[in-house]
């Protein structure tokens, strides 16, 4: 226990980094994923194709590869960042966006087709039908899977620890190395701080789900 209490400031530092990484990547992934889902159902074949390829590639390859691309390949292509943290955000958000896109698309498919027909009948174009009628309903139905994806994102952000970003897992690893006699306690402490993020997300999911449910 002592090792946790003594190192609380480090844990806290790592917790805040993880929170920051997850929050920024989560927001970007939500926006990007929704755009990808919109592209997937758009009447433009090129957009549909792009979205499909994007989702299939990122969803079906390991996150570590996304990290390698962002941290090592991108800089060689001339995209340089001051900190590895930016690379971590790029990798996490592009990877997570693929899952969000699939969840949102399933939500779009769950909205009865009559809703879109009614919207088209009063003269709305594709963009209006999607943004005013379909997405507001679709997003509400996919809140539980979206929160699942965000919980996975929080945990996935630990991969950044292996890419020189000192977040919760990175600090946990440092502490474990420095305290060879208390590795288990150190790891339990790390796990506790992850739970501090993910459990409230789960609770949030059920609260929000109940609040925004649409009666049909």
């Amino acid at each position: 226990m002592d090792v946790i209490i003594e190192n609380l400031p480090l844990y806290w530092e790592g917790f805040l980094r993880t929170l920051f990484l997850s929050a920024v990547s989560g927001v970007i992934a939500l926006v990007l994923g929704t755009l990808l889902a919109a592209a997937r159902v758009s009447p433009v074949a090129a957009l549909r194709g792009f979205s499909t390829v994007y989702v299939e590639v990122l969803r079906n390859t390991p996150l570590t590869i996304a990290f390698f691309f962002a941290a090592i390949v991108l800089p060689r292509l001339g995209v340089k960042f001051e900190q590895f943290e930016i690379a971590a955000i790029i990798a996490l958000s592009t990877y997570t966006a693929a899952f969000i896109a699939e969840a949102v698309r399933s939500g779009v498919n769950s909205v009865p087709v009559g809703q879109a027909e009614a919207a088209r009948s009063i003269g709305m174009g594709f963009g209006q039908v999607l943004s005013l009628i379909i997405l507001p309903q679709a997003l509400r139905t996919v809140i539980p899977p979206l929160i699942n994806i965000l919980i996975a994102l929080v945990k996935n952000s630990s991969v950044a620890g292996a890419f020189f970003v000192l977040e919760l897992f990175g600090y946990g690893r440092q502490l474990a190395n420095a305290n060879g006699d208390a590795v288990i306690t150190v790891l339990l402490g790390t796990a506790f701080f992850y739970l501090l993020l993910t459990v409230p997300l789960g609770i949030l999911a059920s609260t929000v789900e109940r609040k925004v449910a649409i009666a049909r």
Binding site: A118, Q128, R140
Partner: protein, 251 residues
């Protein structure tokens, strides 16, 4: 092929054909509807009458022939199509009110977002329309809180809010409990009396007798008869229509 539209035809279908795979659902349909006319389309299920109704605002595409509204041929896609649809009101069998919007918002959304009407003005017009169809006091509620009959009357108000040139009704009472059918039909009869151009697909023969200027009888994707209600109900010419009417009367 010439696409001549008679001067007074508001809705004009010329040689329209459509298939669902092997099934030929619309066979060489020709139909002209004049301004102010109420045309009731009846026929057995699977006769293509709903498809016909939905094709008029291009919720169903057609393979050949032309459909024109007020002299303008229906565009294939995009802005022009959206603009034309704004002039064609549509009422669906399953109401299709926007489930996440209040009753008032359902009616004001089109005028505000499509026509650019100010919110204040749209609210005022919408309230007047909701009062007219008898659901004014339901304005702040969500669609699911209303009965089917009330929802369908809101759907009519939503379509009317766009000030359409013609109203299409696709079996507007088929999903309703019997005691709610009349409240919807009353609104429709009133609308017909006020001179609205209407194309109504329905099984309500009473409405056809009371409000229709013409009855169009469809079977197997074709228009079999096109007559006044009086003529059609008392003296149907085709065997198909006679058969259809005899089945109705036995119940």
């Amino acid at each position: 092929m010439t696409t001549h539209v008679p001067g007074d035809a508001l809705v004009s279908l010329n040689a329209v054909n459509k298939h669902y795979g092997q099934l030929h659902v619309l066979k060489d349909i020709n139909l002209q509807v004049r301004k102010g006319e109420v045309v009731v389309v009846i026929g057995p299920s699977g006769s293509g009458k709903s498809t016909l109704c939905r094709a008029i605002n291009r919720l169903e595409t057609i393979e050949d022939g032309t459909i024109s509204i007020d002299g303008k041929v229906l565009p294939e896609e995009g802005k022009a199509l959206a603009q034309l649809r704004a002039d064609v009101g549509m009422v669906f069998q399953s109401f299709n009110l926007f489930a996440h919007k209040t009753i008032l918002e359902n009616v004001t959304l089109g005028p505000i977002k499509v026509k650019g009407v100010s919110k204040g003005e749209a609210d005022k017009d919408a309230m007047a329309l909701l009062e007219r169809v008898g659901v004014g006091h339901q304005a702040p509620k969500l669609p699911a809180q209303l009965s089917g009959g009330q929802q369908q009357r809101v759907a009519i108000a939503r379509a009317l809010a766009m000030k359409p040139k013609v109203m299409l009704f696709d079996e507007p009472t088929s999903a309703l409990d019997p005691e709610m059918i009349n409240e919807v039909l009353d609104v429709m009869v009133q609308l017909a009396k006020e001179g609205m151009t209407m194309i109504v697909v329905t099984h309500e023969m009473g409405f056809a007798r009371k409000a229709a200027d013409r009855v169009v009888f469809m079977a197997d994707g074709q228009i079999v008869e096109d007559a006044t209600p009086e003529e059609f109900f008392t003296n149907p010419k085709s065997d198909r229509a006679k058969d259809f009417l005899s089945k109705l009367l036995t119940h």
